[in-house]
């Protein structure tokens, strides 16, 4: 059962009742907005911030902050410590249609009358980062990967957003999206690699609106499109979350903030592979969003127009063999990469060298696996290898 919403034009009604002003208030349109958060305990609020994810101990949440507010009397204050206390490297909160509803309850809203999510946000200082802000996306069981019974009908996200110390309005374009069942009304996600240090952000006036002038967002991205530029760079896309196989956590170490001898900028990525688990192989997929093996609708980037992916790499000693560098090819769900391309095996040199994956003729309309590498111990030093990657980008 979907809740069909007919919002009361609360302000207008009040005005009429009070008889103070007989004409309609000029912002009557705004009064029809569907609020997630107006103020603490506002009767117009919907959704519950119950879906805590990732390093949940890294977040402090206060939804009745009174010192900072963009409107009304309170705002939401979130402090993210970036301590990776559960070793996830990220943390986030879902505002769910009913408490802890990860798709098992039929409590989602039909928000087809709206085409935009709007919210106000600021940082405590300046430069705080919201890695991802999204609407929808609760479609699969996070543990089993199985589709949930009542999935969100959309999954739209923006980010990363670097906040300023002033309140600013941000929005997510939902034109032509299917909003018939919205369970995850909003998700705010932080990534430790983006934030680096503890940060505090404020959110306010979060609501769905109908903007008749809003056009469908143009598809595609502007090139060059970075997978990795520097640690914490807002130009970065895709998350190195797809560690393979399941035992990879015992075999791999990834430092995205390695400052010793990067190819360009301040940092590069250092990767260490040892066959601790005995599995004999390992690799990492950079995914959009994190941990997406093809189960999340509408998540991929449209990278059409790119003719190659380039990156720089070097080995710690030289002769480290990477069996394959790859883009695309994630195929474990219904919403898989539209194509794939790869190079390898490659024997790395001790000095930085640029490599290129040819993307000509490939269908890059939906890419969730932006970059990947994999290798095995059989072709490498049995004691393991260390190598570095930098400047991964899609180019024309």
């Amino acid at each position: 059962m979907r809740k069909i919403l007919f919002l009361n034009t609360l302000i207008c009604s009040l005005a009429v009742c009070l008889g103070a002003v007989v004409v309609l208030a000029p912002n009557c349109q705004a009064a029809e907005d569907f609020y997630i958060y107006a103020d603490k305990n506002s009767p117009g609020n919907h959704f519950i911030p119950s879906g805590w994810m990732g390093d949940v101990n890294d977040m402090k949440f206060n939804d009745q902050e009174t010192k900072e507010k963009a409107g009304g009397t309170t705002s939401i204050k979130i402090t993210y410590t970036a301590k990776k206390s559960q070793n996830q490297g990220w943390a986030g909160i879902y505002w769910q249609s009913s408490q802890n509803n990860w798709g098992s309850k039929d409590s989602g809203f039909d928000l087809s009358d709206f085409n935009k999510l709007v919210f106000m946000a600021k940082g405590e200082k300046d430069g705080e980062v919201l890695t991802t802000v999204k609407v929808g996306g609760i479609t699969t069981n996070g543990t089993t990967g199985e589709p949930v019974e009542f999935p969100d009908t959309l999954n739209v996200e923006i980010g990363p957003i670097r906040l300023t110390s002033d309140w600013k309005e941000y929005s997510i374009n939902l034109v032509d999206k299917d909003l018939t069942n919205v369970n995850g009304g909003l998700a705010i996600i932080f990534n430790a690699d983006h934030t680096g240090v503890e940060q505090t952000v404020y959110l306010d006036e979060i609501r769905f609106v109908n903007d008749p002038d809003l056009q469908k967002e143009a598809s595609g991205v502007s090139l060059p499109f970075y997978v990795y530029a520097d640690s914490g760079s807002l130009d970065n896309h895709f998350i190195p979350s797809g560690w393979m196989p399941a035992s990879a956590a015992r075999d791999l170490k990834l430092d995205t903030n390695w400052k010793n001898y990067p190819f360009s900028g301040d940092t590069c990525m250092r990767l260490e592979y040892k066959n601790n688990s005995g599995t004999r192989w390992a690799g990492i997929f950079w995914q959009q969003p994190a941990n997406n093996w093809g189960t999340i609708p509408g998540a991929g980037y449209d990278l059409q127009g790119a003719s190659k992916l380039t990156f720089w790499a070097r080995g710690d000693k030289g002769d480290e063999v990477i069996q394959e560098f790859k883009i695309g090819g994630i195929s474990s769900g219904e919403y898989i990469d539209s194509d794939s391309s790869s190079i390898g095996p490659i024997s790395l040199t001790k000095e930085w060298k640029q490599y290129e994956i040819d993307l000509r003729g490939k269908d890059l309309s939906y890419i969730i696996g932006g970059f990947a590498w994999a290798t095995n111990i059989d072709v490498n030093d049995p004691e393991g290898i260390v190598f570095y990657i930098d400047e991964i980008k899609y180019e024309k």
Binding site: R280, G329, A374, D378
Partner: protein, 800 residues
């Protein structure tokens, strides 16, 4: 034989890219605890067993099995109970979370559950053993109690731990619920098998065949370093090349998306395991799945090529195989024994085979060569590939052969060298070809392994009788050789027109001229062997295990035969002396065999010390020759071509390179060329074969496949015999004459279990179905023979 079966598989396991890779099949599969036989000879003491414990949960089951085999029932129960008491709570919690088998990669997380389930199984198995050890008269009640309790435990085990596995020393696992169910069947005398299913076959429907056949790769890129270590093909026009090759072939990853068949199934593909689907006869789905399979490109392309070939898209398959040579000639997988399996080489030989068998395509394939320097060991890091993908092109109309060319033997020239001094010699001609000659006449070995094991008998429980002495009806005639009969109508009854023939007569009619036997662990009845030779013209290839399974060396099982150990060596030389002195004056001996796949280890350290092993093998050959007045040839029985280079360097006095080889239905691929190139010795396939059972196929289809496999294998041998091909093949030994029912689990039941992966019809080795003859329902064993199609195939080939 009190040994593990000699059959090895080719489980091409390449832990290379995103998932485990097996070339020919692949995911591990349940198998019954046959390997528990190892414990029977492990010589483990009770004292040490009882001091193991708690430090390592996984030790419990292993030690309990040893105690069970030693009939230390109470001690075995104690260990099992201790394990269950210590870990069952944790195991229950783990089991409660599972809805399916966890992946192999997560095995550590489920170890406790697996250990507990295995201990329950072991406890029940011990109860079964104890019940059997009691005499019926005196202990009827206790016997029944034990059986009832065992069955109760097993049902409980199945219910509580449906997803538990037990891993053997090679990493293969048994599904414990599965073997529990089998054991229940055995205890209740109601043998149980999963149902035999026949899958519907669905072939690939291609949407985009590509614009060219064959593809002229020069149009789309550049070949660099042809015939060198630096070979590479650089694509300049990926769009043009993708268009030319068509759907599913590198670098075309896009066309498939427009295939209407793919569109129908694409939403469901993610639910399918690409290794499981490959042998389920739904080639269409397998094709789409494999195009996006998370494997290395070479492995992916190889499996795509196979699927296309099986779907009769011969031209597209040719493109796929050739694309491997062009783009991924250095690809590899792994066999079960963790030996490399070079995909590029396999692709080359398959390509040659397909082109030869399809002359109507008018193709020529020339100059292809992939040499793997240092490719005979287990280390791929030292491999260097010298690659030339060769030229694949259309012949001009006038040059297209109308049918398969049967080439004429080349001129061999004069004799270059002779090995052997008396009646049996190996001749090498100036052309390089080798020939076996017996009393001056050329001979191709048309041989088989002969082990007519009676149904119900098993070396696992010490009941397997010596066939060469077995006379169950006490009529003075040895059963199998002289009293078998052919159940022509397969009614498991000897009808009036089904006269007693005897295996020897049947083999003679088939064209067999030799059988392979070992003088260990039981003594052979020489009189039978004499008659075999005198009356039926069958020679013996007589072998000594040379320390494999510790046979001959008297080594401890756990440490195995050490080829640097002087005592072990002396013992093995004595064993050889015994063999030679016992049989040297017998005319039936054609050749002496030494070893049996020792290079894979298992009761010996030849896998770890191959140089020591081969040096000793040479010493063994010299010793045999010093004892044999006829100086008959000595052949090693190796495991495929593993360590071929070390053999070549260290075994100048071994006359023949023999190898057990299970490489699929294309014959033996590069074996002949490699032996010629590296060792320049005559080559003998000392074992090859294929089961006559395949899950998902009808019995008739499986039997036909067995016959086709054997035919292809034999023709490959002939294609490389003296004057042809590599010119060094001197014959082959079929594995085996008849099905042996003890191999899997219950020796009274014809198990259909796929014991491990291999390059066979359904991807698995069904080890109880390797015979050219079946034993029907087993009720007339050891007399009844149901001759399979492969018997008649050989009858045609070997009497030609």
């Amino acid at each position: 034989m009190m040994i593990r079966s000699q059959i090895k598989n080719i489980r091409c396991q390449n832990r290379f890219f995103f998932l485990t890779i097996f070339l020919s099949t692949l995911a591990p599969k349940a198998r019954p605890p046959k390997s528990l036989i190892y414990f029977l000879v492990a010589g483990f003491s009770l004292l040490s067993a009882l001091t193991v414990l708690a430090e390592s949960p996984s030790e419990y089951g292993k030690k309990a099995q040893i105690l069970r085999s030693q009939k230390e029932y109470e001690a075995a129960y104690k260990l099992c109970d201790e394990c269950i008491a210590n870990f069952s709570k944790e195991a229950d919690l783990i089991a409660a979370k599972l809805k399916d088998f966890p992946s192999d990669y997560e095995v550590d997380d489920y170890k406790v559950m697996n250990v507990v389930a295995f201990c329950y199984f072991t406890k029940a198995e011990t109860m079964r053993d104890q019940a059997e050890s009691l005499s019926a008269e005196e202990n009827l009640e206790r016997k029944q109690e034990l059986k009832d309790e065992a069955v109760r435990i097993l049902w409980d085990n199945i219910k509580k731990f449906p997803y538990a596995k037990h891993y053997d020393e090679h990493g293969w696992y048994y599904k414990i619920a599965h073997i529990s169910r089998k054991l229940i069947g055995e205890i209740l005398n109601e043998p149980w098998e999963p149902p035999h299913e026949v899958y519907e076959e669905k072939k690939v429907m291609l949407y985009d065949n590509g614009s060219e056949f064959p593809v002229d790769y020069k149009k789309y890129g550049e070949f660099k370093g042809l015939g060198t270590k630096d070979y590479a093909y650089k694509i300049n026009d990926p769009i043009g090349l993708a268009k030319a090759v068509g759907e599913g072939i590198y670098p075309n990853t896009t066309s498939v998306k427009f295939n209407p068949e793919y569109i129908k199934v694409k939403k469901y593909l993610f639910k399918i395991d690409h290794w499981k689907i490959i042998h389920q006869r739904d080639l269409s789905t397998a094709f789409y799945k494999w195009i996006q399979a998370p494997e290395s490109p070479g492995v992916r392309l190889f499996n795509i090529a196979q699927i296309l070939e099986q779907s009769d898209h011969t031209e597209h398959a040719i493109k796929a195989y050739y694309a491997i040579l062009v783009h991924y000639p250095r690809s590899y997988g792994w066999t079960y024994w963790h030996t490399p399996w070079y995909i590029g080489k396999v692709a080359k030989y398959r390509l040659e085979n397909i082109i030869k068998n399809n002359p109507h395509l008018g193709l020529a394939f020339e100059d292809a060569d992939i040499e793997v320097i240092n490719g005979y060991d287990n280390d791929i890091r030292n491999d260097q590939f010298i690659v030339n993908p060769g030229k694949l092109y259309k012949l001009k109309a006038k040059n297209i052969p109308s049918k398969i060319n049967n080439t004429i033997a080349r001129n061999k020239g004069e004799i270059k060298q002779v090995r052997g001094e008396e009646k049996i010699k190996l001749i090498q001609f100036q052309s390089g070809d080798w020939q076996l000659q017996v009393e001056g006449k050329p001979m191709i070995l048309k041989a088989l392994t002969y082990a007519p094991s009676r149904v119900g008998e098993s070396p696992h429980n010490g009941t397997l009788a010596n066939w060469s002495l077995q006379d169950t009806n006490n009529n003075g005639l040895i059963d199998a050789p002289y009293e078998s009969w052919v159940d022509k109508n397969k009614n498991n009854s000897q009808d009036s027109d089904e006269k007693t023939a005897g295996d020897l007569q049947l083999m003679k009619e088939m064209g067999v001229n030799a059988i392979r036997l070992y003088h260990q662990p039981v003594e052979l009845n020489k009189e039978i062997l004499r008659q075999m030779h005198q009356k039926y013209g069958i020679y013996i290839l007589l072998g000594d295990f040379l320390g494999k399974y510790t046979l001959g060396s008297d080594a401890e099982w756990e440490s195995g035969t050490d080829y640097d150990n002087e005592l072990h060596k002396q013992n093995m030389l004595k064993s050889l002396e015994k063999m030679v002195n016992e049989h040297k004056d017998e005319p039936y001996v054609l050749m002496w065999l030494i070893g049996n796949e020792n290079v894979y280890g298992l009761g010996c350290n030849a896998d770890k010390k191959p140089e020591s092993f081969f040096k000793f093998a040479n010493e063994a050959a010299l010793h045999i020759k010093s004892l044999d007045p006829q100086k008959r040839p000595v052949a090693i029985v190796s495991g495929d071509i593993l360590f071929l280079d070390i053999f070549a360097k260290n075994c100048p006095d071994v006359d023949v390179f023999g190898l057990n080889s299970y490489r699929g239905n294309y014959g033996f691929l590069d074996v002949w060329d490699e032996v010629k190139r590296v060792a320049d010795k005559p080559a003998l396939i000392t074992e090859y074969g294929v089961p006559a059972y395949s899950q998902g196929f009808t019995f008739e289809e499986a039997e036909n496949y067995q016959a086709e496999y054997h035919k292809a294998s034999w023709l490959n041998i002939m294609d490389n015999s003296c004057g042809f091909g590599a010119g060094n093949a001197i014959g082959g030994v079929v594995f085996e004459w008849m099905d042996e029912w003890w191999k899997a689990y219950n020796p009274s039941h014809h198990d259909r279990e796929g014991l491990f992966a291999g390059p066979f019809q359904d991807g698995y080795m069904h080890e109880e179905w390797l015979g050219l003859c079946g034993q029907g329902d087993g009720s007339k064993s050891p007399f009844l023979r149901q001759l399979r199609k492969s018997y008649f195939t050989y009858k045609g080939l070997w009497n030609d």
